[in-house]
């Protein structure tokens, strides 16, 4: 696993995000400059309302930035149209949400397969193999035909992780991945992220749980929409168990 010596995957320059409601502007993010290299494992932390989830949404192209530039793998993705953004989300980004966000009408396998169905370069057979591999990686291969409602929270989040990694994305964005889980399941999910990182995945995780943040190799602290600290985590703290 390499970090700083690896090529830059994400580059944010002078990024701003302003929300306007009833003619009142709220500056959610201001002057964000950030570099993320391939293979990094980053935790974004900060108090509630500081803008960390907004930053993750912008990184995941789930929202438009108000100002600045966003380069993903050296491509400027700041001003793409909706379908181009959808295309990049589908191929380059994997999401893990706090509320799992599995579709209740679809089975475990179908949920994992869902992002792959939007890709024309993958055949049906390939899809099946990728789904099976992803589910095997999160140890959920035995639950392929279950519906989300038949799974525990931890299992649902493991399926969500499988869905995020199934398409071999360039970066995995996790928004409070353990926020809805008990400590045992939270540890299991964090171990899974560790494992993915060990295998070379780039992970960017929003959390306000210091124990979760300490599992990452780098922590970015946000306060009032600005990055106030960006530091490497030492291995000691990373070794703290949850």
């Amino acid at each position: 696993m390499k970090t700083h010596s690896n090529p830059v995957l994400v580059e944010l320059k002078q990024l701003k995000k302003v929300f306007v409601a009833d003619d009142i502007e709220t500056h959610a993010l201001n002057d964000i400059n950030l570099l993320i290299n391939q293979g990094e494992y980053i935790a974004i932390t900060g108090p509630s309302g500081c803008g960390k989830s907004t930053l993750l949404s912008l990184l995941g192209l789930l929202d438009n930035l108000s100002q600045g530039h966003y380069l993903l793998a050296n491509h400027d993705v700041s001003n793409l149209d909706r379908d181009e953004r959808a295309h990049i989300r589908n191929e380059k980004i994997g999401f893990i949400f706090q509320a799992f966000n599995l579709i209740s009408d679809l089975t475990v396998a179908e949920n994992v397969e869902l992002p792959l169905t939007y890709r024309k370069d993958i055949s049906k057979e390939q899809r099946k193999t990728m789904v099976a591999d992803a589910l095997a990686k999160v140890d959920m291969a035995h639950r392929v035909n279950h519906f989300p409602s038949q799974l525990s929270g931890g299992q649902q989040q493991r399926v969500a992780v499988a869905r995020a990694i199934a398409g071999n994305p360039s970066i995995i964005l996790a928004d409070e991945p353990t926020g809805n889980l008990d400590s045992k399941n939270a540890q299991a999910v964090m171990n899974l992220l560790d494992q993915l990182h060990q295998e070379g995945a780039t992970i960017c995780m929003v959390t306000h749980d210091p124990r979760g943040a300490s599992r990452a190799k780098r922590t970015i602290e946000i306060f009032d929409g600005k990055i106030v600290a960006d530091h490497e985590n030492n291995q000691q703290s990373a070794a703290i168990t949850v």
Binding site: S57, L62, D83, R89, Y118
Partner: protein, 834 residues
């Protein structure tokens, strides 16, 4: 106190979304208003048993309805009497038949009757007023003595005629009036509005041979019976069936002609039903359609309230978490429904009352010319309608209030509070939503298809080519007095008597044609566009093996030189002339369609035909002397109408009543006056009535169906509005509920078009199911009407293409708009949508 708080809260919730409140109230008003309106129509016209002033229903007893000619058939009074005695189920039975009587004439002392007037006469047994339970307001009703052989001719006046033509003369009783050129004494005046049994303007006694007959006769009358308190209609029906079987051998022997083509004779029907036998299925269809619309309204209101509950799930969850008792929560949900349904109910009452008032005006206008509106066709909101409204409102409150309450209570409140959403809709909710959308599609499809079919068919009938020129044509009925122009049957004078009658028409024709503004005059027993009904004929040397496999045609009597006045022309052979006037002359003219189909070698002239029916073949062979252009007798909308027509010279038949058609120049009012003047010149005792232009004459028989069609159209438009709003609300609600799912799909990289396609595909599946069932169901309903109506191909094509297309567009648009709206949200917003 808590009630006041709840009411205040309910008012605040309703005022918070005034558009939603207004829309929901509008839907309730429309659904209930239409139900109330249709119920009142159906109840007044068809379903409410006729009791008049008695306690038990009246029953009509008559011969089997003649679908071929579309008229009610009378029965032998002897058989009616036998049936009454054998069944013992009636308190009383009266006999009657209806006709027209010409009152007054040049010698009348009443200035209003110096121009003879036509009255709708009911010739009746003496007990007609007793059976109705209504007695005259002046003078007396009939007594058995009035029916004795040689008794003085007497009659009873209706209130309206007494007012209109006799200036409400309080001393009218005892005065004599000329009826059909014979003096007749007024013995009574009936109360206002009384025109029993249907549209009587005067009542005259039946002939003495009608009452207490001791054997079967050729006389015919309708029967009205009042059920005994302990008798049921089912018993009557069973008794009539058994009686028919019993007398069949006797009928087969001497009175085979009384039986219908399939051997049926007497029938019993609820009184009102008997008068609209041919349209009964249309009324039933209307009832079904209105019921479907009420169902649509209920579905829509439930759906709107459900959508509202979905919006308020979090609020409800918080209330439950704070410990609100379930009963109180349900009550709170019910209050909104109570307000919406009660307000809607009040508006519904106003809508229905207004609709009925307009309908009364339309009905009155429709029947102005012929004055043949059955007396009970006076639409009003009856107490039972108010009861129906109250019951419907209560049911609607229960359905539209309880469903959302149950929905909100069955939710996992903990989950809702903890995390508002879980992706897609629950399976049950999604399935219920799909079922509701399919129901809306199929219901609106049924209503719209039926409405379109009836309307297009009605419109086609009104604008169809009947083979005649109707522009600048005035029509009327001319009636000779049978007393003044008697035919002494089976005597040496018969032929001359008939010629005398015919000559009266020719005299009138000559007088009219001498007027500069009149181009030509036609006399026919029924003018093209009217008439209808067919009889079989056998072509000499080409008899079919079975009588009813012979060709058939409509038959009319016609005066010489009648074709040009209505734009018909002779294609081949000659017109009727002096040769057809001779005693025993048997000539016939056929129309072009018969000639082409049965005489393709152009050899019709000189061929002979004769009438055939179930009873055998006539001995009289008619020689074809000419071929005339095609016309259509009867409305193109009715199954009894005919495109095969043959004509007989009226000269040696001397009918007592004919239609006249005038081709004129100038204005219609002046020609009406000219016609009246001509009648006065020729014979002031001639009856001339039903004066109207040719287009109105053609439309007259279908006015009821057209009126009902317009109600169907109204239903169709309302159904489309309800379906469109309902499907939109359903789609919008379902899509809004899936906002987070859409957010997930988009976060995972789904292009916008894929999301739109996902919803569109679901909508298309629902459309396919709804339309398939809807089209089949509507065709099934329409097929029940084809006994009496000819449904035009155009209407099938239009309804089966346009209606599904309209609904498809409606559903796709209703799906596309909310889907597009949700798609516009950024995925990050959609993911956190609450």
């Amino acid at each position: 106190m808590s009630l006041a708080i709840e009411l205040k809260y309910t008012a605040r919730m309703l005022l918070k979304k005034p558009m939603f409140t207004a829309l929901t109230i509008l839907i309730v008003s429309i659904g209930l208003g239409l139900t109330l309106y249709a119920y009142s129509i159906l109840n007044n016209l068809v379903f409410k048993p006729m009791t008049m002033n008695g306690d038990t229903p009246l029953v009509a007893i008559e011969a089997k309805y003649n679908y071929n000619h579309q008229y009610r058939m009378q029965a032998d009074p002897f058989h009616l009497l036998q049936l009454d005695q054998q069944l013992g189920l009636f308190t009383d039975v009266a006999y009657y038949y209806e006709g027209t009587t010409i009152a007054g004439g040049a010698k009348s002392t009443n200035s209003k009757l110096q121009q003879a007037k036509k009255y709708n006469a009911t010739y009746t047994s003496w007990n007609i007023f007793e059976i109705a339970g209504v007695q005259p307001i002046l003078g007396r009703g009939f007594a058995p003595e009035d029916f004795y052989d040689g008794a003085e001719s007497v009659f009873v006046l209706s209130y309206e005629i007494w007012q209109r033509d006799f200036n409400s003369d309080a001393k009218i009783v005892g005065q004599t009036v000329s009826l059909d050129a014979m003096p007749s004494r007024v013995i009574g005046v009936m109360p206002e509005g009384f025109s029993f049994p249907q549209y009587a303007q005067i009542w005259q006694p039946l002939g003495p041979d009608y009452l207490n007959p001791i054997e079967a006769t050729r006389n015919s009358a309708f029967g009205i019976a009042r059920l005994k308190p302990d008798a049921t209609f089912a018993q009557v029906e069973a008794g009539v069936a058994s009686f028919n079987t019993q007398i069949e051998p006797e009928l087969m022997k001497d009175f085979r002609w009384r039986l219908s083509d399939n051997g049926e004779y007497l029938i019993a029907k609820p009184y009102k039903h008997a008068s609209i036998v041919q349209y009964y299925t249309i009324f039933v269809a209307l009832f079904v359609v209105v019921f479907l619309i009420l169902a649509l309204a209920c579905i829509n209101v439930s759906n709107l309230l459900l959508a509202r509950v979905n919006e308020r799930l979090k609020e409800v969850a918080i209330r439950v978490a704070l410990g609100i008792p379930r009963k109180r929560l349900i009550l709170q949900m019910l209050w909104e429904s109570v307000f919406i349904c009660c307000t809607g109910g009040l508006f519904a009452l106003l809508f229905a009352a207004y609709g009925l008032e307009v309908s009364n005006e339309i009905l009155n206008a429709n029947f102005t010319v012929e004055n043949k509106k059955p007396f009970w066709w006076d639409l009003s909101l009856e107490p039972s309608a108010i009861v129906l409204l109250i019951v419907s409102v209560v049911l609607m409150i229960a359905i539209t209030g309880l469903l959302p309450a149950i929905r909100s209570l069955s939710n996992d409140f903990n989950a809702v509070i903890r995390d508002g959403t879980r992706g897609a809709l629950s399976k049950k909710a999604a399935k219920a939503g799909r079922v509701l959308v399919i129901s809306e599609i199929l219901l609106s499809c049924v209503v719209l298809v039926i409405a379109t079919i009836l309307l297009v068919t009605g419109y086609s009938a009104g604008t169809a080519d009947y083979g005649v020129d109707t522009d600048k044509r005035l029509t009327a009925q001319v009636q000779l007095s049978p007393e003044k122009y008697p035919v002494r049957y089976d005597t040496e004078f018969e032929y001359q008597d008939r010629i005398n009658r015919s000559d009266m028409y020719y005299k009138l024709k000559e007088t009219l044609e001498a007027m500069p503004s009149i181009e030509a005059v036609s006399f026919m027993s029924q003018l093209p566009g009217r008439g209808e009904g067919t009889s079989y004929f056998e072509i000499e040397g080409r008899a079919a093996q079975v009588w009813n496999e012979n060709p058939y045609s409509n038959n009319e009597l016609v005066a010489h030189d009648s074709w040009r006045a209505i734009g018909m022309e002779i294609i081949q052979g000659r017109a009727f002339d002096y040769r057809d006037r001779e005693d025993g002359a048997l000539s016939i003219m056929i129309n072009q369609t018969i000639a082409k189909q049965f005489f393709p070698e152009n050899d019709a002239i000189g061929q002979r035909v004769r009438r055939v029916n179930a009873r055998g073949a006539s001995d009289d062979w008619y020689t074809i002397v000419g071929v005339v252009s095609d016309t259509f007798h009867g409305s193109t909308m009715r199954s009894s109408s005919a495109s095969y027509n043959s004509y007989h010279s009226m000269d040696n038949i001397g009918p007592w009543r004919l239609y006249v058609a005038l081709h004129y120049q100038g204005n219609e009012a002046a020609i009406k006056q000219a016609l009246m003047d001509a009648v006065n010149t020729v014979d002031p005792d001639l009856g001339i009535y039903h004066i109207q232009n040719y287009d109105d004459l053609i439309n007259q028989p279908m006015l009821l169906v057209l009126s009902v069609s317009k109600i169907f159209l109204l239903c169709g438009v309302i159904a489309a509005f309800l379906a469109a709003s309902g499907i939109y609300a359903m789609a919008a609600n379902s899509i809004t509920q899936r906002t987070q799912e859409i957010g997930i799909r988009r976060a995972l990289g789904s292009p916008d078009n894929d999301i739109i396609r996902l919803f569109m595909n679901q909508a298309i599946k629902q459309l396919a199911i709804g339309l398939a069932i809807g089209v089949c169901l509507s065709l099934l309903l329409v097929s029940t009407m084809t006994n009496t109506l000819v449904i035009s191909n155009t209407s099938y094509v239009l309804s089966l293409i346009c209606v599904p297309l309209l609904i498809t567009a409606m559903v796709l648009l209703a799906t596309f708009i909310p889907a597009k709206k949700v798609i516009k949200m950024e995925p990050s917003d959609a993911l956190h949508h609450d």
